[in-house]
């Protein structure tokens, strides 16, 4: 009984621990909409898009080099690292244009 109590307490403590050393949200998928101020992406198997805001600090990368926001096109595969409190309120820190994901 004591061991079960101890195990339950440990699991509860672990589940409540913030614990992310890497705080960003990461979105991986296909660009569905792109503008200079926002980007929408649909993950594989997802039914809806996720939208993120872009600002002047957002880094757009391809093959390790920085490119302009004009390089973002519908249909491209992209990996977005974004920050925000929830998935509905994300600001992209970095967008990587990557090869098509199978």
């Amino acid at each position: 009984m004591r061991n079960m109590t101890c195990l339950a307490a440990s699991l509860l403590a672990l589940s409540l621990t913030p614990a992310f050393a890497h705080e960003d949200f990461r979105l991986v998928g296909v660009v569905t909409k792109a503008s200079s101020t926002s980007l929408s992406i649909r993950a594989k198997g997802a039914k809806a898009d996720n939208a993120v805001k872009l600002d002047r600090q957002t880094a757009i990368m391809r093959d390790g080099k920085k490119v302009t926001v004009a390089a973002l096109k519908e249909g491209q595969a992209a990996v977005i690292d974004a920050t925000g409190d929830t998935m509905a309120d994300l600001l992209a820190i970095e967008v990587q244009i990557v090869p098509p994901i199978k």
Partner: protein
């Protein structure tokens, strides 16, 4: 002047016998218990002499109480715990460009060993985070691109200690991990912000 007289033969024999008996008594009651731990009359134990022949060395008693099973009590290079160590063999599949963190809860000074391999090289950060913010900094023990690693850790602080693995390719990558240690639980965190606790079972070796 009167010349000293030599003791008689009988007196010499008598004195020798007395000395021999005294030596025998000292041997049996004091020397044998202290030097060899042989104590036929129990005098060595009564006088505390048997401890000289067989000095006891022990670790401090392990911490007692709920939640204290994995708090080590250390003496030099050795440590004792109230609970048996745990083991885990598990695997994680990282989708294209996904990352995950997997960490164990360890008390300060608690130890663990591990080995992991991956299908392909991954970005990797073996690190620890203290439970109490401000008590210590997050420490990276090994931060580089790897495909496998074998190692051990003695936790520098109470907190979660483990790995960040990132798949930087467009193909899924599986990471396989085996570990053993005095950890209380495992926590898996993914780039989709999901989190999952791993229930870990202590090895069964019977009570000491």
């Amino acid at each position: 002047m009167i010349a000293p007289t030599e003791p008689s033969r009988g007196k010499i024999i008598k004195a020798s016998i007395i000395a021999l008996l005294a030596a025998l008594v000292i041997l049996v009651t004091l020397v044998l218990p202290a030097e060899y731990g042989v104590d036929p009359l129990g005098t060595g134990k009564a006088l505390g002499l048997t401890a000289i022949a067989d000095p006891q060395v022990g670790l401090p008693a392990p911490s007692a109480g709920v939640g204290m099973e994995y708090v080590p009590t250390a003496q030099g290079a050795a440590a004792a715990y109230a609970g048996a160590f745990k083991t885990e063999t598990t695997s994680f599949t990282l989708g294209p460009y996904e990352w995950l963190e997997y960490k164990y809860q360890l008390e300060k000074g608690a130890g663990m060993v591990f080995s992991w391999t991956a299908d392909a090289a991954v970005t990797h950060d073996f690190h620890g985070e203290p439970d109490e913010k401000g008590t210590a900094e997050v420490i990276s023990f090994d931060k580089r691109r790897l495909q496998a690693s074998n190692g051990s850790l003695v936790a520098p602080f109470t907190g979660i200690h483990g790995w960040y693995w990132e798949n930087t390719t467009g193909q899924p990558v599986t990471v396989k991990l085996s570990s053993a240690g005095f950890y209380s639980g495992g926590l898996e965190l993914r780039s989709d912000r999901s989190r999952k606790t791993h229930e870990l079972t202590a090895v069964q070796v019977g009570n000491p």
